[in-house]
C-alpha cells in the first residue's frame, strides 16, 4: 500500500533532480550550435551550425567577435590543478597514514585539517591576499593561489584516504614485517598497491576541485587569471555562444578524465577478476 504510493513519488523526484542537474547543460549544448557570427545566445535557433566550435579553435574568418581570452587561463588552470592534485594527494596519504595510530592531540589536528574545506572560500582568499600584501609577497596563481588550493583540496584527499585506511587490515603489514621486510618496503610493496584505488579517488577529487575553484582564486591569484576567472571575465562584456561551445568542450574533457579514472580503477582491480575467470575455465 505504502510502497505503491512512495515509488511514483520518488520516481518523479528523481526525474526532476536529473532535469535540474542536466537541464542547464542541455540548454548550453543546444545553444552552442547557433548560427554565427550574428546568432546570439538565446532561442530560437536560427540555423544549426558548428560555427562557434570553429570560432573556439580560431578556424573562422575574422569578425567583430574577438576570440575568447581564456586559453592562457586554461593552461594555468590545468597546471595548477595538476600541481594541487600531486601535493594534496601525497599530503592526504601521509596524514591519513599518521592518523592510523591515535596520537596526542589527534582530534585537534583532525579538525584543523578538515577546517580547510569548511571555511568560506571568499574569506580565506581575502585573508591570504591581505597577509600577502602586508608582508610584500606578490600574488600569483602558482604561489598564493596554489597554497589555497592545497589547503582546500587536501582535506578531501585526507578524508578519502582515512576511509580507505579504516577498512585496511593491518595484519598484512605485520605479516610483511615478520618476514623481515622493512616498514618502508612494506608500504611500497603491500600497503600502497592495496590502497591504490583510494589514491586514485583522492587524486580525482583534488584535481576537479582545484580545476574549477573560483572564490579562493579570485583574491589570491593576482593579475594572471585561471580558467574560471577568465570565463567569468567574459560575461562582463557580451556573451556569445562561443563560451557555450567552450563549456561543452571542457565538460567533455571532464568526462574523458572520469573515463581515464574508471580505466585505471578497472586495471587496478583486474587481477582479482582475471584470476576469478581462470578458476571458471
Amino acid at each position: 500500500m505504502q510502497t505503491t504510493f512512495i515509488k511514483p513519488v520518488l520516481g518523479v523526484y528523481t526525474a526532476l533532480f536529473l532535469l535540474f542537474l542536466y537541464g542547464p547543460f542541455v540548454v548550453l549544448g543546444i545553444l552552442s550550435f547557433q548560427i554565427g557570427p550574428n546568432g546570439g545566445p538565446q532561442f530560437p535557433i536560427i540555423e544549426w551550425s558548428t560555427y562557434w566550435y570553429q570560432h573556439v579553435f580560431g578556424l573562422t574568418p575574422p569578425s567583430r567577435i574577438a576570440p575568447l581570452p581564456i586559453y592562457e587561463g586554461l593552461a594555468r588552470s590545468l597546471t595548477l590543478a595538476f600541481m594541487t592534485m600531486i601535493v594534496s594527494t601525497v599530503l592526504g596519504v601521509m596524514s591519513a597514514q599518521a592518523f592510523r595510530t591515535k596520537f596526542k592531540g589527534s582530534d585537534v589536528v583532525f579538525y584543523l585539517i578538515v577546517l580547510g574545506m569548511m571555511v568560506p572560500g571568499v574569506l580565506v582568499g581575502l585573508g591570504l591576499a591581505l597577509v600577502a600584501n602586508s608582508v610584500g609577497i606578490d600574488r600569483t596563481w602558482w604561489s598564493t593561489a596554489f597554497v589555497l588550493h592545497v589547503v582546500y583540496t587536501f582535506p578531501f584527499a585526507f578524508l578519502v584516504m582515512l576511509a580507505i585506511f579504516n577498512r585496511f587490515d593491518p595484519s598484512v603489514e605485520e605479516a610483511a614485517w615478520s618476514l623481515g621486510v622493512s616498514p618502508i618496503k612494506t608500504f611500497r610493496k603491500v600497503t600502497f598497491p592495496l590502497i591504490f584505488p583510494g589514491v586514485l579517488s583522492a587524486m580525482l577529487f583534488a584535481f576537479t576541485l582545484s580545476y574549477d575553484e573560483f572564490s579562493r582564486t579570485l583574491f589570491a591569484s593576482g593579475r594572471d587569471l585561471t580558467l574560471p576567472l577568465a570565463i567569468y571575465g567574459t560575461f562582463s562584456i557580451e556573451i556569445h555562444p562561443n563560451i557555450f561551445a567552450f563549456g561543452v568542450l571542457t565538460t567533455l574533457f571532464s568526462f574523458a578524465l572520469l573515463a581515464v579514472y574508471a580505466i585505471l580503477m578497472t586495471v587496478s582491480l583486474r587481477r582479482a577478476k582475471r584470476l576469478a575467470i581462470q578458476e571458471d575455465a
Binding site: D169, A175, R271
Partner: protein
C-alpha cells in the same frame, strides 16, 4: 636442549587494564608448544609482543640469548602465522610465498633460480603443487592456511608463532591440518608456539602446554599432566572438562553451598578453595542407590543431554542451582535412559576429585 626463546617478567597494559602480568616462559629448540587461553587471557598480546608488533611495558624477551624486546619486528627473524592468514591479496600464491625471500632487508634472495627452487620445495612440502599461479582469493580456506604457513616457513625462521591458525577452518579441515602442522614442523625442526582457545587442539598439538589465565601463566607441562592434574581451578576451568565447585574447607570436608564433600588425598595449595571433578569420572545412579565408603554423591535433577557421537553429555542441576556436566563415553557405558526433571545421584570416587585450598 637449548632454549631458543626465553621470556622474563613480561607485562603489558592497555590504559589501566593489564593484558599481561609478569609472564615468564622458556621454549626449547625444536619443540611444539601450545598456548591455551580463553579469549581475553592475553594470549594474542603475548604473541604480538614476541613478534614485535607491540612493545612490552616491562620484562625481557630473549631470543637466542639476546634481548629483542626493543628490536623492530622486521629485524627479529621470528615467523608469524595469522588467524585470518593475512595473505597479500594482490599477489599470487607463488608471489605470496616468495615475498619474504625477495623483499627482506637482510640477505634477500636475488638469484631467480635459487628463489624458484626454494619456493617449489616449500609448495611441495605444504601440498600446494599446481596452485602456484592462482590468486589467494581463488583457493579454499585450507589451501590459504597452507600458503600462510609456506610463506613463513620458506625463510626458515628458528621459531614460528601461530595465532589460532586453525580457527578459521571448518571442523573437518581443522583435524586434518593438525596432523599436517605436526608433520611439517617435525620435518623442518622449527620451534612452534601455537596459540589456541580450544583445549582439544592444545592437548593434541603440543609437546608441552602453557595455560594462560587473566594475563598470567597457570601451568606449563606435558598435555597428560595438565589434563589429569591441573595446578589451579583456573587451569581446570580452561580445560573445559571439569566440574568446579567453589566453597571452603572445614575440618575434613569441602563445603560448597549446601553440599558437603568428604576430603581424601592431597590438597593442592591455592588461594581460592575449589573442588574439581572431571566430567567423565562421574556416574549417574538412581536416587535411592547405596554408596561405597570411598564414593561421594551429589543429588541433582536431570535437565538435558547432548549427543556428541562418541559420547553423551548429561546436564544436571544440583540443589543449589549449580549445573553439573557428566560425560558418558559410549565405549565405556551404554547410553542411559534418564527422565527429565527426575532426581538422580551423581557419584564419583573421592580419590578422583582434585581439591584446591
Amino acid at each position: 636442549m637449548a632454549d631458543v626463546l626465553r621470556i622474563e617478567g613480561l607485562g603489558k597494559s592497555y590504559g589501566s587494564k593489564p593484558a599481561l602480568r609478569d609472564v615468564s616462559l622458556a621454549v626449547a629448540d625444536n619443540e611444539y608448544v601450545s598456548l591455551l587461553g580463553p579469549s581475553g587471557s592475553g594470549k594474542t598480546v603475548l604473541l604480538q609482543l614476541i613478534a614485535g608488533f607491540e612493545l612490552p611495558d616491562r620484562g625481557r624477551i630473549l631470543f637466542d640469548g639476546s634481548d629483542i624486546a626493543s628490536v623492530p619486528a622486521h629485524e627479529r627473524g621470528i615467523g608469524f602465522v595469522f588467524q585470518n592468514f593475512a595473505l597479500f591479496p594482490h599477489l599470487s600464491v607463488y608471489d605470496n610465498i616468495g615475498f619474504g625471500l625477495v623483499n627482506r632487508q637482510s640477505d634477500p634472495v636475488t638469484d631467480p633460480v635459487v628463489l624458484s627452487s626454494r619456493i617449489r620445495e616449500m609448495v611441495e612440502l605444504v601440498g600446494l603443487s599446481g596452485l602456484e599461479d592462482r590468486g589467494v582469493h581463488q583457493i579454499s580456506g585450507g589451501q590459504r592456511q597452507r600458503v600462510a604457513l609456506a610463506r613463513t616457513l620458506v625463510s626458515q625462521p628458528r621459531i614460528v608463532l601461530l595465532d589460532e591458525p586453525l580457527g578459521a577452518l571448518d571442523a573437518n579441515l581443522r583435524t586434518r591440518m593438525r596432523g599436517e602442522l605436526r608433520r611439517i614442523r617435525s620435518q623442518l625442526g622449527i620451534t612452534f608456539l601455537h596459540v589456541t582457545g580450544s583445549e582439544t587442539e592444545a592437548l593434541a598439538m603440543g609437546d608441552r602446554i602453557v595455560v594462560l589465565n587473566e594475563g598470567m601463566i597457570g601451568q606449563v607441562d606435558t598435555p597428560d599432566i595438565v589434563y589429569n592434574s591441573p595446578l589451579s581451578p583456573n587451569v581446570a576451568h580452561s580445560l573445559n572438562c571439569y566440574n568446579l565447585f567453589t566453597g571452603s574447607i572445614q575440618s575434613s570436608s569441602f563445603l560448597a553451598g549446601t553440599h558437603r564433600f568428604p576430603l581424601n588425598g592431597t590438597l593442592h595449595p591455592n588461594p581460592t578453595p575449589a573442588y574439581a571433578i572431571r566430567q567423565d569420572l562421574i556416574s549417574v545412579r538412581p536416587g535411592n542407590a547405596s554408596l561405597a565408603s570411598s564414593e561421594v554423591a551429589l543429588t541433582a535433577t536431570y535437565l538435558a543431554s547432548e549427543y556428541t557421537g562418541a559420547a553423551f553429555m548429561y546436564f544436571f542441576r544440583a540443589e543449589d542451582g549449580h549445573i553439573v556436566e557428566v560425560e558418558n563415553h559410549l565405549s565405556h557405558r551404554a547410553a542411559q535412559n534418564l527422565d527429565v526433571n527426575a532426581t538422580y545421584q551423581l557419584v564419583w570416587k573421592a580419590d578422583d576429585a582434585l581439591v584446591y585450598g
